[in-house]
Symmetry: C2
Subunit: 388 residues, 2 copies
Amino acid sequence: MKLEEPQEVLLLGPGPSPIHPRVLKAMSWNTLGHLDPEFIEIMNEAKELLKYVFETKNQVTLPISATGSAGMEAALVNILEPGDKAVICVNGVFGTRMADVASRCGAQVIEVEADWGSPIEPDDVKKALEANDDVKIVGIVHAETSTGVLQPLEQIVELAHQNGALIVVDTVTSLGGIPVSVDARELDVVYSGTQKCLSCPPGLAPLTLNEKALSVFRFRKNVVQSWYLDLTMLTRYWGEERFYHHTAPINMIYALYEALSIIREEGLQERFKRHKLNSKALVNGFEALGLQMLTSEPYRLPSLHAVKIPDGISDADVRKKLRADYRIEIGGGLGPFKGNIWRVGLMGHGSQKENVNRLIKALGEIMQPMGYNCSIEEALSAVSRTYQ
Amino acid sequence: MKLEEPQEVLLLGPGPSPIHPRVLKAMSWNTLGHLDPEFIEIMNEAKELLKYVFETKNQVTLPISATGSAGMEAALVNILEPGDKAVICVNGVFGTRMADVASRCGAQVIEVEADWGSPIEPDDVKKALEANDDVKIVGIVHAETSTGVLQPLEQIVELAHQNGALIVVDTVTSLGGIPVSVDARELDVVYSGTQKCLSCPPGLAPLTLNEKALSVFRFRKNVVQSWYLDLTMLTRYWGEERFYHHTAPINMIYALYEALSIIREEGLQERFKRHKLNSKALVNGFEALGLQMLTSEPYRLPSLHAVKIPDGISDADVRKKLRADYRIEIGGGLGPFKGNIWRVGLMGHGSQKENVNRLIKALGEIMQPMGYNCSIEEALSAVSRTYQ
């Protein structure tokens, strides 16, 4: 049976996020050759726009031709060599993944842990750096998609640099929604994904490295174990030389270009404000429904909200009804939070007042017949008051 | 300055190839979540269609979430472990790349070479296998995109199997245009790309492994060095379990689904016939223009044609004029053939009589004022006669 185009679903899960119609349209632009002069112009513009969004002047700023996790792998595989020491901060799925990827690069991984749902304590990073000489990198997740934790970076960056280590930062769920400020914060290696606050379909992983990171890269003793992710060749394709490496995913680059153009048109600061305001409205709505947030300010992400599932309410039933009757997707919990939390994204194009209202209303309407006691009207006015 | 959608270019280079309008449309279908039931249905269908195109019953048949070269890396990195011996056949860019990737997996690479433009001799593979014990894989390119060589596989597959080695085959430029016949030929690990004879934008790398290859994979001693390409987790995401690994490039999978549907509607055998016929017409046209093919039958690919640039004609001038005045892209030579050959693809949706005529006419019109003596009329009737 021939399948048809799926009807729209409002994507309020942990990503992919709702795509702007202009970006979807760009996905179907005429495919050009990967060395075509018109395509190269689009590549160049996409690169400049990525610099704008990362807030960096880094020459090496480009999208890896694969999804966000490949961005993580690219960041680590180009920097780490067998035997290198890597301090990796772990307080959720993506920190855990980072430790896994680093160890596959042959690094000696020193994990600094915090409870899932809590930020990493700078003091713990300090201890790990004091206990280990010659740490090459400190890896940390800026926005932990599995728990909704926003990680303060300043102190940990300072500790890394004081100890001669590079800081590698996962901004998959922050870039374009929350200030990442690569240059101002002196972040050395930073990667992201396209399907969160950039509101582009999944398929690319923006990556940026500063001069300090590049000089570490240039003085490697061993060849990079991944051919596909090796920056030696990638930078020649994305640089002036246009040296053929692989065939870039042309139409994905169109979409990224268009998504980033929309961000520049809105302005980064405006976009950050919008994410903050709608997040506040959502939290107010949740709390007025009697729901409890997993994390508290200032560690709560405005792009991804972890909210506790009330006693007696079935995770699966609510999410199935939301999807089937309201065509809204939200995410379930992962690891220790499986069945205990929902993860609600308000990312990029999805961070809108209308979406907050739709979700709060739908959740109320679904949970009331399940015996959950709440006032939808009150919740909606709590949302509404946020915008006054 | 805001860039707009590029006008259509007729892609007759080494890929990407012309995209069917239905496939471009599918690129902009509403993005769904990567675990959404409707998306999973599309994944399942895409997987079944991939089996159809690969002509295999292999359970593990899936698209890697990155471009063709990542398919090569996935094929090798999951099978090879440090110290393993890999016989790699090298007669062009992609064999060279395969040797590079295999060595980055820590394998001891034994290269079997042939001149660029000539096929690999089974006898040379035999010698390499006799001279080396315990060879784990023989890697070979079925359709060498850099030279237009179609590699006969049967004898080399037999030699590999007689010596207990797996055969790993690059079908980037053959899948969907030339019989690959994974099961009938007993190919163990086969990968491809979407942007050639499948006529889908670049961005995915179809991969298939048979049971023999999977058992080698399952008995690995070491963890796969690439997290992103590790089949342990990828098969759990693409299998019944739907275990979250990475966020699949949703819209690319839509496009792949649609491109494969079009192939099934046409029928593989019909599609192979079409590629052969249009290729013959193109070669007749080239020869009637007085141009010489680099490779001869039966080693000439019907999907990618290497044609010698006549003396006194500038490669760059012709290709620039083709692109600027006719909006046609063809490819230049690589490595030893830089400036000496053009690479002309007739792949998938691009393999059409009308495109053959357009190119032959355009080439004649461009070269005549450069002092090249040819009859466009005669060339076009040579093309035309092919179809009678």
